[in-house]
Symmetry: C2
Subunit: 427 residues, 2 copies
């Protein structure tokens, strides 16, 4: 899908910043950040607020030390560097992402958005540009949610500070409280001034890898993310009756596993029949009791993960799920529980227009795309105009040591980001 | 299915033995045996060769102590009591089953066949009958296989003593060797003489609960078991490709869970379409990796348990399984492994004819039936004429504390067993 031409024009300072992005410097920073928790297989293990992640935070602080810079850290341990603008009365433009990873993650997920933002600041320095608004680069705390649940704590608390107390009480698998880990992070970056959580932001842009195969398959280097899909998680429990596999005739069985397999199979057919490229429907968990070769199962619990950029389609899929399940009422009983739901996030039209103009200015091919994964930008969009910029993921691989992106695409993303940030900071 | 009338007539001594079966004594013995490992919920926990099971063995030895009795124990710790016949040159007739249970089992599985045999011996004593052949009642070691694998070690080693060395090396979950547990059993019954494993047997009858709902549903008190189904166990492993549930379009997925659910669902349809009451086809295990709500599964392993009294039908189902799996070759890759197979056991026509006559003599309704479960008789049938006699299981429940049988049916079974044993022992 190619968007209708937009007429937003970029200020000359935006183009100058873009031209001063240095690919070599960007990739070097990216590779150096990957040494914090780097693995022999090319992956990165740098979970939120571990000693490894705190060391990476200290290294970040060493990258911007001139008089135009001030580092901040807030009550959620979000780490922010501000490059001063000419008018301190105006709210800053913000970019960034996260530097925490899954237990075994890739070198780009999150980290790219932080490094690309820092490279934009360096490009501004080299170009001698002072923007009207300050520009901030942020590393949000605990986006992945693998160590402390839920994920995106930092951006979520930034958008609504009332969420912080519940997050502080969260514990990791070893019983360590998030609050203690947060305190260690506050102490790890003494050069960063404390700042209140949730200061006003003029606009937010997050650069990120796609984590899916759409852009690679369509051959685009830049993806302007118009929305983050809404998601609903269901848990279906199917009840049968446990009995001996050898002695119980097929006709008298209440086989929870067979009923559940029929449900999953028919849900798969129904989802495919909608012929909707934007629809996602996944059964990823399927647990059987008692789970013995020669015993008919009396209970199966399976998950259903449904995603779509439009809430109306999520409603339609929910109705379809109930319809498919109801077909099996004769063979078993079941319950459905909603585990989680989040409405789609539609990004801001003005920020998207700026990203469109910046992408055109880079001269690389770009597309509009929806995000299938959650991102910190989802929470920022609740409190300020926001949007995202994707670069492709090779083979769509992410949350995996094999995660990678062509360096040319990483550089194109940083160029577009620099131009867009300056354009927003001059308004 | 009602069998064609058989003309076997019972000797008068068989009828006299039958008339001396005492229901009250039978049920009392059965309940007393259930106190060894008895649970508050009515179930029994008496795994093979545990201290509880050894105490039950000692108690068994106390039940037959007259000069006509001799207890024996063999190298597999099978515990046997022989009631002398008038002609010591003739091979004995044997009956029995096992007294070990599942970790949580019922009060009748196995135990009933031993107790009904002992009651037949008591009835012979009361009737003053001396048969030509000796009659033996045996408690086979480790039928259930829940503590030491495989099951039916005692009867299997009796039928083929060459199997014993491998069994002796088996270990339970705590690393205890079967050999050590066996040695403790040999010492627990000092009154029992050591006997060589696998002595000649003229004929073997095993009484057992059905462990399925067929007889209760058809309203019969006695089931003459003509065959034990053959069984084949398969393990199917389906390979897909792990990916993010939110970012990966439906069209490009290799979803191992969806493919496996389709396979299981279609196998269920195909099995039902055969319209064969004797066919059993069960998927009882279904294990997913990584098993995360928001990750497309890259591996599913599921089991298939197929049973039928005819080998040709097992062959047909195997072909059908491969046909169903092959339909999904485009969506995933898979392998199939045969975990276990055992051909059907067809019981001996002469023993069946005697059971038919004995069942008629009791005046209760009886039917012919196949066994869906394995039993010690399966191994005995390899080395002597053998058959089984079933009594119904309420609601088909077994391997469960709720296992039960109407006392009238238990008594009818003991009466038929006594008559059949005497008839065989007089030939």
């Amino acid at each position: 899908v190619t968007a209708a031409p937009m007429t937003t024009s970029l200020p000359a300072s935006a183009l100058r910043a873009m031209e001063h992005v240095q690919g070599v410097r960007l990739i070097r920073m990216q590779r150096e950040l990957a040494t914090f928790g780097g693995r022999a297989d090319g992956g990165v293990s740098r979970e939120a607020l571990t000693a490894t992640e705190l060391a990476a935070r200290q290294w970040l602080c060493s990258l911007c030390t001139g008089p135009q810079y001030q580092w901040y850290v807030d009550d959620a341990a979000n780490l922010i560097v501000r490059r001063q603008g000419s008018n301190p009365a105006l709210a800053p433009v913000m970019t960034g992402s996260h530097i925490d990873t899954q237990p075994v993650g890739g070198w780009l997920d999150g980290a790219y958005g932080v490094v690309a933002g820092l490279e934009a600041l360096h490009a501004l320095d080299d170009a001698g540009v002072t923007t009207q608004r300050a520009i901030e680069v942020v590393a949000w705390t605990n986006e992945e949610g693998s160590r402390f649940s839920p994920g995106a704590m930092g951006s979520s608390a930034f958008s609504d500070p009332a969420r912080l107390p519940a997050f502080l009480a969260a514990q990791d698998a070893h019983g360590e409280r998030f609050e203690n880990a947060r305190n260690a992070a506050l102490q790890a970056t003494p050069a960063a001034q404390r700042i209140a959580l949730g200061h006003p932001v003029h606009a937010y842009i997050e650069a990120h890898i796609e984590q899916g195969p759409v852009m690679e398959n369509s051959g685009h280097s830049l993806g302007i993310v118009t929305a983050i899909q809404g998601v609903r998680w269901y848990e279906v429990t199917v009840h049968g009756s446990s009995a001996h596999a050898g002695t119980t005739p097929l006709a008298v069985r209440q086989d929870a596993l067979l009923s559940a397999a029929n449900m999953v199979s028919q849900l798969g057919v129904a989802a495919n029949e909608r012929g909707d490229e934007a629809l996602r429907c996944t059964v990823g968990r399927f647990e059987v009791a008692p789970g013995s070769i020669n015993t008919i199962a009396d209970r199966v619990t399976f998950s259903v993960d449904v995603r779509h950029p439009r809430d109306s389609e999520l409603d339609a899929m929910q109705a379809l799920l109930h319809e498919v399940l109801a077909r099996h009422r004769g063979a078993c009983t079941y319950e459905v529980r909603v585990l989680m739901q989040r409405a789609p996030t539609v990004f801001d039209g003005r920020v998207l227009a700026v990203l469109e103009a910046a992408s055109r200015a880079t001269g690389t091919s770009h597309c509009h795309i929806g995000s299938g994964a959650f991102h910190d930008a989802m929470y920022l969009a609740d409190s300020c105009p926001a949007a995202m910029l994707f670069v492709p993921s090779k083979k769509g691989i992410s949350h995996n040591a094999g995660e990678d992106t062509d360096p040319a695409d990483l550089i194109a993303g940083a160029r577009a980001l620099a131009a867009a940030l300056v354009a927003l900071a001059e308004t």
